[in-house]
Symmetry: C2
Subunit: 115 residues, 2 copies
Amino acid sequence: MAAPAALTLPSPQLIEALSQFFRLLSEPTRLQLLCQLKHGGAMDVASLIEATGFSQSHISRQLGQLQRAGLVSCERDGVRLIYALADPLVEELCNLVQGRMRQRLEQQLQQLPAL
Amino acid sequence: MAAPAALTLPSPQLIEALSQFFRLLSEPTRLQLLCQLKHGGAMDVASLIEATGFSQSHISRQLGQLQRAGLVSCERDGVRLIYALADPLVEELCNLVQGRMRQRLEQQLQQLPAL
DNA sequence: GTGCATAATTCCTTTAGCGTCATAGAGTTC
DNA sequence: GAACTCTATGACGCTAAAGGAATTATGCAC
């Protein structure tokens, strides 16, 4: 049986893999694409371009990265490619972080001296 | 009552804030520092420098970023500064991502044709 | 086949951030 | 006070990645 995770230091490979994953979410464009897909369901590239306002090449590249990471899936519909969310993890992570932000702000609010 | 989150598109400010948070975790150095603090409890800067092998200025800067984000706290002990984890969220996030990695690998393993 | 659409890829420039060296600040000891 | 240790900050080069324009690939209609 393996030692408890809390007592073992993560390997450099794991650190690297984790940081690469978080790096995917560290770019507003990619996060925006994921949110759009969450909001609008499956969408083709043209719609995502219009929704985000970025160039076609940029969107295509970012979608490629998300797809290689398995966060997004893609299927053809005639001449168009329809992308869709492929993993609910992103939303979970965002909700956790957002909850933390709310918590911190409430804390700061309480520590602010009343008038 | 506010609309369900799934139906509203996150504001650009929220997207930006989320991406900035994830950016903190997208750097191996910072993730390594957080893991070290998780593993070894509160540590002074010198120990963190030795544990990571980076230069003093680099470590100091990364610790500063983590502290401003509230992920790490810091108190003086004489001439030394002792840093400690200030938020369990990072570990939660890492565990979630790690679980997803395991899941994906198991999936790939099953799809691999047997000999 | 040609022509027309959509999307991926190849270049390119520019920018953000890592990482180090040198310096300045803060705290202790004498 | 001076001398010393520990940490933060300024200045700088360097590399990775964003972002766009142009090109190429892919699929459909004809």
